[in-house]
């Protein structure tokens, strides 16, 4: 039986107090600021964010290294990214994010490889700069077609006083001006992945744009040149986006950073418009390019046909009629496909309730795609969002939605237990918890090894995947028939 809005709000307020009641007082006070029931007329979600996680609560967050190596830099395919420090960080993030790319791995591209300086005790005691120097030579010797090298700092680097910037500068000179980027993304910096994104953006600014010097462009500019910013090509997302932009008459001169290359980063100052998908992880460099090169940027959302159409029009509005017509042509071309997908899946998904907990842009961006299928998002939250994310979220969520920032394992389990959604969308660490509870689940970081989910081609896969999760016959088998009454 459906609850009224007031009942939903009361229930959500109650579930928050219930979750908080178990914490020690000091922690309960802290966590209370991150949990709220959204009031429809407010300009933000009423939660604090981008604050240190409380120790011992099982935060789902990662670290700055994950934000830099794992998210921003790692997908740049023709550069070698060295995980600088002990072996673990690079090992656990090795090829796990499914940043698809075209290239011959180990020869001209390196994304799914794990390069590490494998720090030993002597490197901690005596410093790792000499080792790093040698590593850069060895990378150059064994992988001569690499177009650049980044040094992704792990925790010890900043603690033992290594000067990776000096090493990078010296080696770059030695190697004829090769792009070598030191990144200070030690895991203890900041409160989550988020600072790692920022640090990585700043490293592009400092070591690619400002130190890189002027390089002759590889191509003649056109008035229709755009760069895709903040799409990591997970399962091919950037590709199923790029194809639409090209079909409407734009020319994509760079992808940041999924299937991207150093040359594409260097191309970007020539763009007429930067189009930004993941605001959280790449707004910094977009703002910089706006100030420095006068390139405007526009946010877009390629999840679900409603938002794709809205975004294509918003992007086209920065161009002439040729592009505006192109956008309409693309929308019309895919309409029959979208109608067929919705006709097939909406009846199977109508009215289903979803709870989300993801990073970046997805806690808000995917809501429209669910709504295109007749589904309702009843709770959402960000692993590492900031206040500007929660402001943007108000354009997507309904009055009474449960909001949880940097949710703890305990809270999330309680919330799902009480709200009883038909689907939870979150990450690998959460997946099996909820499936054990009998709740259908999709990983919304990795697309559960599926995808792409972006664009029109992606939406068909998204719809199919949500259907297969929710309407999986296994959920009817969780109770042994002889225990059915319990």
């Amino acid at each position: 039986m459906d609850l009224t809005l007031d009942e939903v709000k009361a229930r959500n307020a109650d579930v928050i107090s219930e979750a908080l009641s178990v914490y020690p007082d000091k922690t309960a006070k802290k966590r209370a600021k991150h949990l709220n029931v959204y009031e429809g007329d407010k300009p933000d979600c009423g939660v604090k964010s981008n604050i240190k996680s409380v120790p011992g609560v099982m935060t789902i967050r990662g670290c700055a290294y994950a934000g830099s190596k794992g998210v921003v830099w790692g997908p740049i395919k023709d550069m070698v990214h060295i995980s600088h420090g002990p072996v673990g960080c690079g090992q656990y993030s090795w090829a796990a994010r499914r940043n698809y790319y075209i290239g011959v791995t180990g020869v001209d591209t390196f994304v799914t490889m794990q390069f590490t300086s494998d720090f030993q005790e002597k490197d901690i005691v005596f410093g790792g700069d000499k080792k790093l120097d040698k590593i850069l030579d060895e990378v150059q010797r064994l992988f001569p077609l690499n177009h650049g090298i980044t040094i992704q700092s792990e925790c010890p680097i900043g603690l033992i006083g290594d000067d990776i910037e000096a090493v990078a500068k010296r080696k770059s000179k030695e190697l004829g001006g090769k792009t070598i980027v030191p990144v200070r993304c030690e895991g203890f910096r900041g409160v989550s992945q988020s600072l790692g994104h920022h640090i990585a953006n700043d490293a592009v600014r400092d070591w690619v744009f400002e130190k890189g010097g002027d390089k002759a462009p590889l191509f003649e500019s056109t008035p229709y040149d755009v760069a895709i910013i903040g799409d990591y090509n997970i399962g091919g997302d950037a590709w199923s986006s790029r194809i639409l932009l090209e079909e409407m008459g734009l020319r994509v001169i760079a992808q940041w950073s999924g299937d991207g290359s150093l040359a594409e980063l260097e191309n970007t100052p020539k763009a007429k418009l930067n189009i930004l998908h993941c605001y959280r992880s790449m707004n910094y460099i977009s703002r910089y390019m706006e100030e420095k090169f006068g390139i405007p940027w526009v946010e877009y959302n390629f999840f679900g046909p409603s938002k794709v159409a809205e975004s294509l029009r918003a992007i086209a509005s920065h161009f002439d009629d040729r592009i505006k017509e192109g956008a309409e042509r693309v929308i019309a071309k895919y309409k029959p496909l979208m109608d067929a997908v919705i006709a097939k899946y909406r009846p199977r998904l109508e009215g289903k309730k979803v709870m989300l907990y993801v990073g970046g842009l997805r806690p808000r961006h995917v809501i429209g795609a669910y709504e295109d299928l007749g589904m309702e998002v009843v709770g959402t939250g960000y692993e590492f969002g900031h206040n500007d994310d929660y402001q943007r979220t108000t354009h997507y969520v309904k009055d009474g939605t449960l909001i949880y920032d940097d949710v703890t394992g305990y809270e999330f389990e309680k919330f799902v237990d009480r709200l009883k959604p038909d689907l939870v969308g979150s990450g690998i660490k959460e997946k099996y918890v909820f499936q054990k509870m009998g709740v259908p689940f999709r990983q919304m970081h990795s697309w559960d090894y599926s995808g792409p989910y972006h664009g029109y081609d992606g939406f068909a896969i998204f719809a199919r995947d949500m259907d297969m999760a929710i309407n999986n016959p296994v959920w009817g088998l969780t109770k042994a028939p002889w225990n059915a009454g319990r």
């Binding site: 120790p55 656990y92 590709w239």
Partner: protein, 518 residues
Amino acid sequence: MSQNADKVVDHFSLFRSPEYMGMFENKKAFENAVPVADLQKAADWTKTREYRELNFAREALVVNPAKACQPLGAVFAAMGFEGTLPFVHGSQGCVAYYRSHFSRHFKEPTSCVSSSMTEDAAVFGGLNNMIDGLANAYNLYKPKMIAVSTTCMAEVIGDDLNAFIKTAKEKGSVPQEFDVPFTHTPAFVGSHVTGYDNTMKSILEHFWDGKSGTVAPLERKACESINIIGGFDGYAIGNIRELKRLLSSMGVDYTILGDTSDVWDTPTDGQFRMYDGGTTLADAAAAVHAKATISMQGFCTPKTLAYVAKKGHEVAAFNHPMGVAATDRFLMEVARLTGRAIPEDLTRERGRLVDAIADSSAHIHGKRFALYGDPDLTLGLTGFLLELGAEPVHILATNGTPEWEARVQALLDSSPFGKGCHVYPGRDLWHMRSLLFTEPVDFLIGNTYGKFLERDTRTPLIRIGFPIFDRHHHHRYPLWGYQGAMNTLVKILDKIFDVTDADTSNPGKTDYSFDIIR
């Protein structure tokens, strides 16, 4: 248009449509892409002897290592105890990684918390993180024990776990008598197997030696029971259950120390069990009285066994025993230590394994294998391959020590099938790539990352190791015991037959050998 509502196309085939293929081609103009001829030349060069020599001359760079860091092993060991919440003191991102890594392998939840240290803790130390962290974890997750280990961050700044936990208890974070064993597990020393060893030892020390001076140490009264320690093992679910079956059939009184078999294998029945199974804390304490302790993986437990031996236990270490002779030795050692006979049932099981090997060995005999993995696993596998008449040509362990090298070499020297085979301690999978190009083999045995080697060198991969991310549920089946050897034999044979079939399936060209009986 590439997509289709009637039959939704996945990424496997979506991007092969002409629209996308054309798009990829056009994108190259913006990529500063390497010209095709240069690319081919460079790719071919990486397959040469010359490249291999440059590759093996590496002194600092590590590429695609087959090892993880200490704290991962620490979490693994802690997970094996009843109601235990692993608590990792240091940066929080590490814990997110360990949890993801284990969940991707076992397809199970992995509960573990971090003390979430950040810049201020780097300057002032993480005492407050420990105080708050223990209190929060205790109140929220109601564990029976919290097992503390460290990340490299906490180690570099030199946080003192003993003092911190003491202070936290004084501040009331957890009750004084609450069990908080701890150990330092610097990521820049050893590998995940070292972290396993340190943590296992710390938990035993905690219970046996007076819980950090808070109670009297236990006085050992030797009994008839034996302890078994499994070590860091991606097949722990299947292997430990198989051990229990073997030991029960012999009527042995035993304790598995660090029993993760139920922890990482809970049912989907509507309930999430954060804690399930594990060695009970009472059993962990009582294990001091055992007459003997057996480690199934000696390279995972050197310090633990030395400590246990000092308590007066007879100790024995195996190396991931696989196959007939290794299982024989294990059972005979159990029989010797406990005075229990090996029952007829197991003798018949052994006979069935020998029967299976006799039936199939013609297909394995003389086949050349490359293998890599943890020191114990590679030792166990090498022994089994030699037993099958196969040649383990390249044997590599990134976390292999000189002692491991000597042990593998001795094993190779003991068999005519070991002639011309080589051992590679401290090398990585990029070295293995050169080996496979310059000295090709028929099959490769390793974990999921081996698929990159399979792709590059076309050496068929048999997945045995940790982690296995891209095949499901094999961790539920044992590799140990006669039954485990049977599983391994079948796994190897299936790949051999699949490869032979694929290789002979060309109609009218090679399919005279596409036999229905093999």
